[in-house]
Amino acid sequence: MSATPGTLAGSRAPFAERLAAVRGSRRRVVDRVMRTVALAAALVCVLPLAAILLFVVIKGAAALNLDLLTKPPKALGTGGGALNAILGSLQMVAVAALVAVPVGILGGVYVSEFASRRSARAVRFAADVMVGVPSILIGIVAYTLLVVPFKQFNAAAGSVALALIMVPVIVRTTEEILRLVPHEIREAGLALGVPTWRVVLSVVLPAGRTGVLTGVMLAVARAAGETAPLLFTALGSRLVNVGQFGQPMDALPLFIYNGARQPIAALNDQAWGAALLLLLFVLGVNVAVRARSWGRRAG
C-alpha cells in the first residue's frame, strides 16, 4: 500500500503501483449502478407520456372521421359525432377566457407594478393556493353559487368554474414576466412625463407581451382539459348547444368521461376520438408556446 503522508519522495512506491492501489473498483461499480437507476427513473417519467400518446393516437385515430367533427351524437343508439362537445368546449373556454384574461392580466399588473410589498405577497400567496386547489372544489363552489339557486345545470356555471381556474395562472405568469422587464425602461417612460398607468400599458406590458401570452395560452390549455369542475355545473348534454349558457352544455372532457364508462364499444371509440382531439389541442398549445420561446432565444 501507499506510504503515509509526509514520506520522503524517494521512499515512495513507484507511481504506477500507487495508482493501481488507489483505483477503487467498488466505487466504479456503485457509479455504474447509480447511473442506471437514474436513467431508469428518467424513463419512468417519459414512458407514461409516450404510452398516453401512443394509446390515444392509435385508438383515437381509428375513431377519427368527419362525422366525429361535424355531427352531434344520435339521440338514440350509437353513431354520430362529438360536435356538441367540440362546440361546447370552445364556447365555455372562450367565455371563461373572456373573463379570466383581463382579470388575470390586470391582477398581475397590480402585483408587479402597484402593490406594496405586503399586499403583493398576499395576492401572490392567494394565487398560488388557488392554483393548488383541487379543481373539483372550484366546481362545488360554482355549483353552490350558480347551479343550486337556479335549480338548473348550466354552461355559465361551467365557464365561471373554468375562469376561476385560469385567473391565478394568468396572474402569476403575468407578474413574473413583468418583473423581468428592466426597471430602466419604466424610468425612461416616467422621466418623459408619461403617467405611470400609461407607462405600464404602453411600455411595460408590450415588453412582456410574449410571456403574458404564454401564460394565457397555458391557462386556456389547462381549462380546456378540466373535467371535474364541469361535472356538476355544465353537466354535459347530447344536444348541440350554441349560445344558451342557461342550459347544460357538453365539453370534450365530459364527452370522454360519459363515453368511456358506457358498456358500448361504439361509444368507447367515440370517447377515444374525442380524447385525441383534446390531446391535439392541449399538445398544440404547449408546443406553440415552446416554439415561441425557442424562437425568441434564437432571435
Binding site: 430602466e184 425602461i185 425612461a188 416616467l190 411600455v203
Partner: protein, 295 residues
C-alpha cells in the same frame, strides 16, 4: 470659461416655452421673478437633504445651476451625485422610502410645491440615463415620439417634423432616416443613447439631466455624445453627473465636486468655473480627487 460659440444659436427660445408655473393663481414662495431672458440661474437647490429611509444620501446641498450652460457633478462612487440629480425631476421620490428636505426652485418655482405635479414637471425636465434605454417594443420613430404620444395633452399634428428635428439635433438623423421603422434596440449602443437624447428633446424640455450618459459607451461614441452636448448648450440647461473627470473638464462650464462624509452622506465640497476647479481648486479634497489621489 467656455463661451457661447454656437453660431446662429436661438438663445431667446426660452421665453416661448411653457413654464411650469401653476396657473392656479398661487404665487410661488420664491423671490420675484426676473424676466426669463435676464435670468442666469436656472435651478436653485437650497439646503437639500435626501434620504432613503433612515439613510441620508445627500446632506445640506445648496447650489445654483446656471441657465443654458453645462454643469458637471463629479465625485467618487456612492457620494450621492445621482440621487442629487434625480431630485431635479422628482424621480428620487419614486424609490422606496425616499424622502427629501429643503427646496428646489426652477425659474423661481418650487418644484416640490403641492401645486406642481411630478408628471408635468418631468415633461420640462428631461433625463438621459447611464445605460441607453430605448423602449424595446418601439421603432426608432415611435421612441422619439413616445413622450408626445403617451404623455397627456393633445398630440401635435406635425409629429414627423418633430421626429426629424429631434433626430437631427441629436446628430442621428442621417444614420437612421432610411429605417425609422426599425426597432430602437437594433441600433448600436452609442446610437441608442443619441436616440434617448432625441426622445428627451422631443417633449421640448428646458433642463436635461444626464446621469453618466457615456459611461456605458466606447470612446468614439462617448466623443459624439460630448459633441452633442456642446451643440445643445445654449438651448438647454444641462446637468451631467460623471465619473469621468476628463469628460467634465471637456464639456462643462461649471463643475461641482461632491464627496462623502463620515456618515456616508454625500455633500458638496465646492463648485465653480470648470477651469478653476481643475486648475486651482479652493479645497485640498478637490485637488486630491482631481489629481487621482483618492476616489
Amino acid at each position: 470659461m467656455a463661451t457661447e460659440i454656437r453660431p446662429g444659436a436661438d438663445l431667446p427660445a426660452v421665453p416661448t416655452r411653457p413654464t411650469i408655473a401653476p396657473t392656479s393663481g398661487r404665487v410661488p414662495a420664491a423671490a420675484p421673478d426676473p424676466a426669463p431672458a435676464a435670468r442666469t440661474t436656472k435651478i436653485e437647490a437650497r439646503d437639500l437633504n435626501l434620504y432613503y429611509g433612515s439613510f441620508r444620501a445627500v446632506r445640506d446641498v445648496t447650489m445654483d445651476i446656471p441657465a443654458n450652460k453645462i454643469t458637471a457633478i463629479i465625485g467618487p462612487s456612492g457620494c450621492g451625485k445621482s440621487t442629487f440629480l434625480r431630485a431635479f425631476n422628482r424621480m428620487h421620490e419614486l424609490a422606496q422610502g425616499a424622502r427629501m428636505e429643503g427646496r428646489i426652485l426652477l425659474d423661481g418655482v418650487d418644484i416640490y410645491d403641492r401645486s406642481v405635479d411630478a408628471v408635468d414637471l418631468r415633461r420640462l425636465v428631461g433625463m438621459v440615463f447611464q445605460r441607453p434605454n430605448p423602449f424595446p417594443t418601439m421603432s426608432i420613430y415611435e421612441n422619439v415620439s413616445a413622450g408626445l404620444r403617451l404623455g397627456g395633452g393633445h398630440k401635435p399634428t406635425n409629429l414627423d417634423a418633430i421626429v426629424e428635428d429631434c433626430l437631427t439635433r441629436a446628430a442621428l438623423w442621417d444614420e437612421v432616416k432610411d429605417h425609422l421603422g426599425d426597432p430602437g434596440t437594433s441600433l448600436s449602443g452609442g446610437q441608442q443613447q443619441r436616440l434617448c437624447i432625441a426622445r428627451a428633446l422631443a417633449v421640448d424640455p428646458e433642463v436635461i439631466l444626464m446621469d453618466e450618459p457615456a459611461s456605458a459607451l466606447d470612446p468614439i461614441a462617448t466623443l459624439r455624445i460630448e459633441e452633442l452636448m456642446l451643440e445643445l448648450r445654449g438651448s438647454y440647461t444641462i446637468v451631467i453627473v460623471t465619473h469621468n473627470m476628463q469628460q467634465a473638464s471637456r464639456v462643462s462650464d461649471q463643475t461641482a465636486f461632491f464627496s462623502m462624509g463620515e456618515d456616508r452622506a454625500g455633500y458638496l465640497v465646492e463648485m465653480g468655473q470648470t477651469a478653476t476647479i481643475f486648475t486651482n481648486p479652493r479645497e485640498q479634497l478637490t485637488e486630491d480627487y482631481i489629481s487621482g489621489r483618492f476616489g
